[in-house]
C-alpha cells in the first residue's frame, strides 16, 4: 500500500511541483522562499498522505501547507523577515485561509507562464535561461537537468545558483508583464528557449544517440503551457504545432541502429498520426491569426511535409514560397540554406547546388554540418563523386555524435550503388 502511494506521489510531484512553485513565487514574490516552502510542504505530504490518505485537493493542500511553513520561516528569522517585508508576503500575514481559497487563488491562468517569462528574462543569459526553465518549470531536479543537457552536475548547479542570485539581486520579476507590448516583446525569447530545448533533444549535439526523447517531450510540455495560457497568440500555437509535427516523425527518423534516416527515405507509415493531426490543426489555427510569425511559418513548412503522401509528392513550390516568407521574418544563413535545398528539390539538383554554393562563404555555414551534407547529397545526384566525397568528409569532421558519424560513414562506402 505504502509503495503505491509513493508511486502516486512521485508522479504527482513531478507534475505538480512546478505548478506549486509557480503559485508560491507569485504569492511570496521570492523564489528562495517559495522553493524552501514547496520543499517542506512536499516533505510534509510524504509523511501525512500515506498515513491519512490523499487529500481531496492535493495542490490546495500543498499550497496551504507551504504558506504556513513560509510564515513560520519569516517569524523565525528576523533577517529574512526584513528582506521579505517589502515583498508580497505582507498580504500573507492574514490568517491562513481555507484550502478552497488557496485553490481559488489559482484562478484560470497557469502560473507557470509567469515563471517561464521570468526564467527567459533578457537579463539572464541564454544558457542559464534553459537550465532555469528545466529546473523550475520542467520540474526536473538539478541532477536531471544536468543529465538532460549532458553537463556535469556542478556546472548546472553553478548556472542555477548564478541565475537565482541575479534574479534576487536585480529583482527580476517572475511575472507575465501587464503591458501587452512588453508581453509581446518577451514572448519570442520564451518560445526560442523552448525550441532550443526541443532541438537539443531532436538533433543532440552531444552523446551517442541522436534523439533524446526526454528533452523533446519536455519542450512539448513547456510549449503546451504557453499555448494554453495564451490561446489568442499565434506563435505559441505555431510552435506547439511545429514541435508536434516534428515529434511525430521521431520514430521514422532513426533506424534500428539509431542512425538517422533522411526525410526522403523515411517510412511515413511510422509517423505518429495522432501527433500529426494535432500539429496540423494547431498550425492551421496559428496561420489564420494576425500575429503569425517565424514559428508558425516553420510549422507550415512541417505541415506541407506532413501532408505529402511520400517524398516525391511533396509540394516543393509551396515550401520554397514558405521559406521566402520565413526569410522575411528571419533572414539567417541556415534559412537561406534550407530554401536553396527546397529550390533544388523543385528545380533539380543543379539548381540546388547553385543556391548552396552561393552561400558557401557564409561563416556560419562553413561550420554547419547539415550544409555539407546537403551539398554532398546534391553532388551525389549529379554524379560528381570527388566533390561529393569532399563534402561528406567535411561533414564527418563536423559530426557531433556517433549517430551522425554513422549516417555519414554509410554514405562514404565506396561500393554504394549510384542513386
Amino acid at each position: 500500500m505504502r509503495e503505491t502511494t509513493d508511486v502516486v506521489l512521485a508522479r504527482f510531484f513531478r507534475d505538480e511541483h512546478s505548478r506549486l512553485l509557480a503559485v508560491l513565487v507569485r504569492r511570496f514574490g521570492s523564489l528562495d522562499l517559495a522553493e524552501e516552502a514547496a520543499q517542506e510542504a512536499m516533505a510534509a505530504a510524504l509523511e501525512t498522505w500515506p498515513r491519512d490518505g490523499m487529500p481531496s485537493s492535493p495542490l490546495a493542500w500543498l499550497i496551504t501547507a507551504a504558506r504556513r511553513r513560509a510564515l513560520d520561516r519569516v517569524r523565525r528569522d528576523a533577517v529574512f523577515a526584513r528582506r521579505i517585508a517589502e515583498l508580497r508576503l505582507q498580504e500573507e500575514l492574514a490568517p491562513p485561509s481555507a484550502e478552497d481559497d488557496a485553490l481559488d487563488a489559482l484562478g484560470g491562468q497557469d502560473e507557470r507562464l509567469a515563471m517561464l517569462m521570468g526564467c527567459c528574462h533578457p537579463a539572464i543569459s541564454g544558457a542559464d535561461q534553459i537550465a532555469l526553465m528545466l529546473r523550475f518549470v520542467g520540474g526536473l531536479t538539478t541532477a536531471e537537468v544536468a543529465q538532460s543537457l549532458l553537463l556535469p552536475v556542478p556546472t548546472v548547479q553553478a548556472r542555477i545558483t548564478r541565475a537565482k542570485k541575479r534574479i534576487r539581486a536585480n529583482r527580476i520579476p517572475l511575472e507575465v508583464p501587464d503591458d501587452p507590448g512588453a508581453l509581446q516583446a518577451r514572448l519570442p525569447s520564451v518560445l526560442t528557449a523552448i525550441s532550443l530545448i526541443f532541438t537539443e533533444g531532436y538533433d543532440a549535439t552531444a552523446g551517442d544517440s541522436l534523439l533524446r526523447r526526454d528533452l523533446t517531450s519536455e519542450a512539448v510540455r513547456l510549449a503546451r503551457i504557453v499555448q494554453t495560457s495564451l490561446p489568442e497568440e499565434a506563435e505559441p500555437c505555431g510552435l506547439l504545432g511545429l514541435l508536434l509535427l516534428t515529434e511525430a516523425r521521431a520514430s521514422a527518423r532513426v533506424d534500428a541502429d539509431g542512425v538517422p534516416v533522411a526525410l526522403e527515405d523515411q517510412d511515413r507509415g511510422l509517423w505518429d498520426g495522432a501527433l500529426t493531426m494535432e500539429g496540423l490543426a494547431l498550425v492551421e489555427r496559428a496561420a489564420a491569426m494576425p500575429s503569425a510569425g517565424r514559428f508558425t511559418v516553420q510549422g507550415a513548412i512541417a505541415a506541407v511535409h506532413a501532408e505529402a503522401r511520400d517524398f516525391d509528392s511533396t509540394d516543393w513550390r509551396q515550401i520554397v514560397a514558405l521559406y521566402d516568407i520565413l526569410l522575411h521574418h528571419r533572414d539567417d544563413p541556415v534559412v537561406r540554406m534550407n530554401r536553396a535545398v527546397a529550390v533544388g528539390r523543385r528545380d533539380g539538383p543543379e539548381a540546388g547546388l547553385r543556391g548552396l554554393l552561393a552561400l558557401a562563404d557564409e561563416p556560419e555555414l562553413t561550420r554547419h554540418r547539415p550544409f555539407h551534407v546537403c551539398c554532398a547529397l546534391f553532388y551525389d545526384e549529379v554524379h560528381d563523386a570527388p566533390a561529393a566525397s569532399a563534402s561528406w568528409a567535411r561533414a564527418l569532421e563536423l559530426a557531433e555524435n556517433e549517430a551522425q558519424r554513422q549516417f555519414i560513414a554509410r554514405r562514404l562506402v565506396p561500393d554504394r550503388p549510384a542513386p
Binding site: 536585480n170 529583482r171 520579476p173
Partner: protein, 117 residues
C-alpha cells in the same frame, strides 16, 4: 528598490554637449530628468566632468604612500559620465527607464541594483 543607472561612455565617443549629431544634448538629459521627477521615481544622481579632469589616487597596500596621477585611467577606454538613481518596483521598470535614457544613444547605460545596508 533603488537602481543606479551608470551612464557609460568611451573616450573616443562624442561627449554630451558636443556639437555632434550622435552626442546626447544637455536639453535631452534635462527633459529625461524632468520625466523621472514627474513619474516620482527619481532618487538622486550626478553628472561628472570629463575623465581628463579626473585625478587618480592609488595605494599598493595599506601602508604605502598614495601615488597620484592625472586622469583618465590609462587601462580603460571606458568611463562613467554620470549616474541617475531611480527607485522603482523591479528590473523591468528599471529597464523601461534605461531604455528612455539619452545616455543609451550611442553609449551604454548599465543598470546596477544598489546594495542596501
Amino acid at each position: 528598490m533603488k537602481y543606479v543607472l551608470l551612464l557609460m561612455a568611451n573616450l573616443t565617443d562624442a561627449r554630451c554637449g558636443e556639437e555632434s549629431p550622435e552626442a546626447p544634448t544637455v536639453e535631452e538629459f534635462m527633459a529625461f530628468d524632468a520625466e523621472l521627477e514627474e513619474a516620482g521615481v527619481l532618487a538622486g544622481g550626478f553628472g561628472l566632468s570629463d575623465p581628463e579632469e579626473g585625478t587618480i589616487v592609488t595605494k599598493r597596500d595599506r601602508d604605502a604612500e598614495p601615488v597620484v596621477t592625472s586622469g583618465p585611467y590609462a587601462e580603460s577606454r571606458e568611463f562613467v559620465g554620470g549616474t541617475i538613481v531611480i527607485d522603482v518596483k523591479d528590473l523591468d521598470e528599471a529597464l523601461h527607464w534605461a531604455g528612455r535614457c539619452p545616455g543609451a544613444v550611442g553609449g551604454r547605460v548599465e543598470i546596477r541594483p544598489m546594495l542596501e545596508f
